[in-house]
Symmetry: C2
Subunit: 465 residues, 2 copies
């Protein structure tokens, strides 16, 4: 089905719905809506709207459905797969005005929040009441919680506290037809029909526009310890991860960083860090709880495991400042690479114990094609963040052959039991690799589901499949 | 679309697929497949098959699709909503021969298990390796894990360890078309297209037949403590639940039982228990971890909370035998009622702190209609198990007016933010109440999804909606 352009009549109808002050049409003002954090993509919508209510979104979707105008819902634009880009033009709905925390229910340990609230703002608001919302992507200071839901985002603490799927209880959603529904109930358990809440999580805004989010909260841990362990090889660091869990400990974070991560953040983010020649890889390990003695006993046990994998040096962060510094290193790796090199990000996920094989394979494939790579990520979940760097690859090869190399990496990922994305989503940029993992049967089911929600395919077209 | 009967030609085709020894056609032998644990329902299939492989199931589904024969997949038949009953006749596929634990992967803390494995058998097998699969419904000694997945089953430990949705990573499924797919990947995180694994969980066998299950496992806690606290009223017991969490503690179980539960298990299950006049309600609270001192400190904190809600007496289970005895009381309430009275089971779920209102309302509605009730359940999750007992209701009223009373209870449930079922599913018996919570928009989405998977509606027809 062919889409139509937004003509003056439709523009007037859009203005009638949201008001003049909520509509952007100048190219300059639309610039910041034309990209996300995915490499150098740029797609301009025809019109940007900043609605204030589900009702306005409902009217917009009805209008666009009637006139076959593509619609792209957008959070903070911090995505890493191009999911929020208007690749077909049309209307971009920015959720930035849905920025209210509507309710923190301390009786039920639940909150109701609008999708345009910045994740860290929400985390801090519930922390003030002694509660934890543990889903904290590296971009937590700027991303919206609605985008997190739509992309199934994770973060370091998933390993202990579970994925975002465990924390999203209910969603208010505007369907492409304009109908507004609650997907489920505000309950911790749910066995009442196909779970539409779960279907919306990770659907990347292709099935409906999320307008309210009910989350589960848990008591905030009162104490934590953070340590940074160095290893003589990538393999030994990755192998230690799995052993920590087998020793009966579930840390609240286990982040892997290869040596190069430190080189990049030292060079480009002004981080002071004494990097020794023999440091080939690092694990950043956090343990939390309510009792320092228990935490220290667990750290001691972890220490023993680390030693048996050749760990030479463990740095305990003994102050809040030191902890913040170590987390800062971890959180700025992506940015350091992004600002300073031609790069491509991947976020494959594998069963935890196969990480050493994955990292080894990535390096071999890189050697074969001539690209360099910076590997880090949520090792406790088997979720690797891979930044591919142009290295010695020529521009021609980078443009022509890189994707062949990436396809080889995904073939390895899938052969290890893994899949394309752990938390960044498929969006635009991973679409072409999906057939490495999925068959026509999957694509037919997905397309069928899409059609049930969005018969004219107006909502975020061109994404996932 | 009208279904066909299984004629002799189709029977021969079925036998050709699975072999003579895997087909049951005599009414006597089919008796045990004609009911589950849902009250007194009885529906005979025309033919029962006990296939041995996904390939056989694939051939059976293709055959039935071609000939418009309804197919009902069945686990252990311990369901409480009629989900495994052949309400349209046709072919019943018993999964009882899918009884192998295929792999316990101690490196990745994952297991691959067939759906016909008894949940407790699986739990014990992983516990032997120091690992925990925490999803333990009351029927764990007899239910199949495949049924648990299909119904989104829970159990006491969900409150700490999360729902079954957090533990099911990947599923091998035979679609009604006969296609065999893996729904996802063996990974802890997943952001690669609509999540078909999550869609299968709780779909009650209407979208596909599950033939392999990959689960997440976690380190087994080494220590636990169990206490039984008595309260002067249902309201005070329920109110204490929410306060425990607000005090910053997440117990591994918080089970609520009203006084009558103890009366029933004493009378009918030979349980010895000293019930005092002032004991109106109880909480069974378990705390687990790796350190006894921490556990005892948490128990002490819980104790203080309980006292502030009028708790008079706390019984600490000081031996494994005593713990088993207390859990036995909890697990046999349903059975005690079932064997000794005309009854109807409900399993509504509400936000945790609204439980006192729910229980109070149920008693008031009972008084209005003349039925009695036994209330218990997973209070930490807001999941109430309600056994309605005929009481002073005449048979005529029981048959004619009970559902009006139940509808009132569900209206109250929904008004409190809850829904129809927390873990038993909708199946056959809750279908009529679904419109209390859900709109035509929900039903249309569900029917649309159903059609994507099962265009001829042959798989478990007549369930959920």
């Amino acid at each position: 089905m062919a889409f139509n352009k937004i003509d003056d009549n439709i523009l007037q109808a859009i203005i009638a719905i949201v008001g003049n002050d909520s509509v952007i049409t100048s190219r300059d003002d639309m610039e910041r809506y034309s990209h996300d954090e995915t490499e150098d993509l740029s797609y301009y919508p025809e019109v940007v709207v900043k609605p204030r209510s589900a009702k306005e979104i409902s009217a917009l979707l009805k209008l666009c459905n009637e006139h076959m105008i593509p619609v792209t819902p957008r959070g903070a634009g911090t995505g890493l797969s191009g999911g929020a880009l208007s690749v077909m033009g049309g209307l971009l709905i920015s959720m930035e005005r849905f920025d209210q925390i509507l309710n923190i229910d301390e009786q039920n340990l639940q909150a109701t929040v609008e999708p345009g609230v910045i994740t860290e703002v929400f985390m801090n608001a519930v922390a003030e009441k002694g509660l934890l919302y543990p889903v904290d992507p590296a971009s937590k200071g700027s991303c919206f919680i609605g985008g997190n839901v739509s992309h199934g985002s994770g973060g370091p603490r998933v390993v202990k506290y579970g994925t975002i799927r465990e924390y999203i209880l209910n969603l208010e959603v505007v369907l492409p037809s304009g109908e507004i529904i609650w997907t489920g109930a505000n309950t911790l358990k749910y066995a009442s029909g196909y779970n539409l809440t779960q279907l919306m999580i990770g659907a990347e805004g292709t099935l409906g526009v999320i307008t309210k989010i009910v989350t589960k909260l848990i008591p905030h841990p009162t104490n934590d310890a953070l340590m940074l362990a160095s290893f003589p090889s990538n393999e030994s660091a990755c192998a230690a991860v799995s052993a920590i869990f087998r020793a009966g400990i579930v840390p609240s974070a286990v982040e892997y960083m290869e040596r190069k991560c430190f080189e990049w953040v030292k060079a480009y983010n002004g981080v002071q860090f004494d990097l020794k020649d023999e440091d080939a890889a690092f694990l950043l390990i956090e343990v939390d709880g309510t009792d320092n003695e228990v935490i220290f006993a667990e750290c001691e046990k972890i220490n023993q495991v680390l030693e048996s994998f050749g760990c030479k040096d463990v740095l305990f962060a003994d102050s809040a400042a030191k902890k913040a510094e170590l987390w800062h290193i971890r959180r700025t790796i992506g940015e350091s690479v992004k600002i300073n090199s031609v790069y491509k990000k991947e976020d494959m996920v594998v069963p935890r114990a196969t990480l050493p094989q994955l990292v080894k394979g990535i390096k071999e494939i890189g050697n074969k094609y001539g690209f360099d790579s910076v590997c880090f990520g949520h090792a406790g979940d088997g979720n690797l963040h891979l930044n591919i760097i142009q290295g010695s690859m020529s521009n021609a090869d980078w443009n022509d052959k890189l994707n062949t190399g990436i396809a080889e990496i995904f073939e390895l990922t899938v052969s290890l039991g893994g899949t394309i994305s752990g938390e960044h989503g498929i969006g635009l940029v991973q679409k072409e690799f999906m057939p490495i993992k999925y068959t026509n049967v999957h694509f037919e089911l997905w397309r069928g589901i899409k059609k049930v929600f969005d018969k004219n395919n107006i909502l975020n077209p061109g994404k996932i499949f």
